[in-house]
């Protein structure tokens, strides 16, 4: 991966945080283990981070830690918050989803109006993509089916949703912990969406 990396020292300097804070956040699982990348340099081992991701995360932590405790923050960043239950009305009221998209979702799925975490995520993704105009309704339905079939995986892993189109035929993929995907020439990637990011966005809206 050709991500830009930042060394720990520069990070502390840039974000204005101390070693104590960084280690505390790591301990509380606010910063995922995979972001600590070890490399050997001329002074020995040093730790690097994916620059964009870590700066964004630290910024989020710093703005939100005034209102939330560290444990609550950890819940927010962790992909496996499953204790969330909301009704259809609450979701609409909190602007997670618009009422028209909600009706489409329910019509397609024929489920109850009580939503658990996986279903909230599904409807959120559905709303997000339909509203952006990137996909059409049939593609949306296909996407929902993929999400629904792999519910168990999505809650625990780093999932990514990809929708491609070629010669007018669309297909949908769910990538689990994938580093990279390559497509054949002429394939258009319509959507590439990180589910973990969606969950974070969604949780930020809910809190």
């Amino acid at each position: 991966m050709s991500e830009e990396l930042i060394s720990k020292k520069d990070l502390l300097d840039m974000a204005g945080i101390s070693y104590g804070q960084l280690y505390r956040w790591k301990r509380k699982d606010l910063i995922p283990e995979e972001w600590f990348i070890r490399k050997s340099t001329f002074t020995g081992q040093e730790t690097f981070f994916p620059k964009e991701k870590i700066l964004e995360r630290i910024d989020k932590i710093q703005t939100m830690k005034e209102n939330l405790s560290l444990d609550e923050l950890a819940d927010m960043f962790s992909p496996n918050v499953t204790e969330l239950h909301l009704t259809k009305e609450e979701l609409i009221k909190r602007n997670i989803v618009s009422s028209s998209v909600m009706d489409l979702y329910l019509e397609n799925e024929k489920g109850s109006s009580h939503f658990d975490f996986s279903r909230i995520l599904e409807v959120y993704v559905f709303e997000k993509l339909l509203q952006s105009g990137e996909i059409n309704l049939d593609e949306g339905k296909m996407l929902l089916q993929v999400l629904k079939d792999h519910r168990g995986l999505i809650n625990q892993k780093n999932g990514e949703l990809v929708l491609t189109r070629k010669l007018g035929v669309s297909s949908c993929l769910l990538l689990i912990n994938a580093e990279e995907v390559k497509f054949e020439q002429g394939t258009k990637i319509v959507v590439r969406l990180s589910l973990v990011k969606c969950m974070e966005e969604m949780k930020a809206n809910l809190l």
Binding site: S18, Y19, G20, L22, Y23, R27, T43, G44
Partner: protein, 238 residues
């Protein structure tokens, strides 16, 4: 969870049992439990083996306890020998005997007066040691307070306050045989005070290097003081 209706599991003498949900689990002789246990109190006084995971409020090992899975509890006291083959998740962890953890440790408070071996990372809010310890990964704690009493090793140490003190051995004779030194690759913290420490890199804000230290490189942002008896190859202010 219904706590009241649960029964107890006692093994006195030789015996084996299957796991399950209990109120109290006591192993007094040589007992083996063949699957996962979920209980309120877990007591092991003899030689006990659990071939599975243990989830409990209070665990105490006075004899020889072996858990071939994960251990999850609020309070763990080890006065004998305890071995957890996978991960340990505990709030208060006290070792006066010997504890070996095959995976990683996540705790709020760790207090060691015996010997602790952790293969993976060891995380706690407070890490207090007056003993030997070996940590294969990162020792990560807000407050690290170590009194070196034997050979101490950690791959890396990180946290807010890191204090390492040397404690004189009780009998002078042993002095030459037992190496009393903390050995680590890297120490990073805001406030660092070291004695008898061998480290490749030390990075921090306020750094105090005491007697008998051997440090490859010190990088500091605030203050640095180095004892006359310490060896520091290189230091720079950043």
């Amino acid at each position: 969870m219904e706590m009241k209706k649960r029964g107890d599991l006692h093994i006195n003498g030789f015996g084996s049992a299957n796991g399950g949900q209990f109120h109290q689990v006591t192993i007094n002789g040589k007992g083996t439990v063949n699957s996962d246990i979920e209980c309120v109190v877990f007591d092991c006084n003899g030689s006990g083996t659990v071939n599975g995971n243990v989830m409990t409020n209070k665990a105490k090992v006075n004899g020889n306890g072996k858990i071939k899975g994960n251990l999850e509890c609020e309070r763990l006291i080890v006065d004998g020998t305890a071995k957890v083959e996978k991960n340990l998740r505990v709030d208060h962890f006290k070792v006066a005997g010997k504890a070996t953890i095959g995976g990683r440790v996540k705790a709020e408070e760790i207090n060691i007066k015996g010997k602790l071996t952790v293969e993976g990372d060891c995380e706690a809010d407070l890490f207090k040691a007056e003993s030997h310890f070996m940590i294969g990964g990162l020792l990560n704690a807000d407050h690290v307070d170590i009194k070196i009493f034997g050979e101490c090793k950690a791959k890396e140490i990180g946290g807010q306050t890191i204090l390492v003190k040397h404690k004189a051995p009780l009998i002078g004779l042993f002095k030459t045989f037992i190496q009393t030194q903390l050995e680590t690759e890297c120490i990073e913290g805001d406030k660092i005070e070291l004695e008898n420490t061998k480290a490749a890199v030390v990075r921090g804000n306020h750094v105090t290097i005491g007697a008998k230290c051997e440090i490859g490189l010190v990088e500091y942002t605030g203050e640095l003081s180095v004892d006359k008896k310490a060896i520091v190859k290189e230091y720079r202010k950043v």
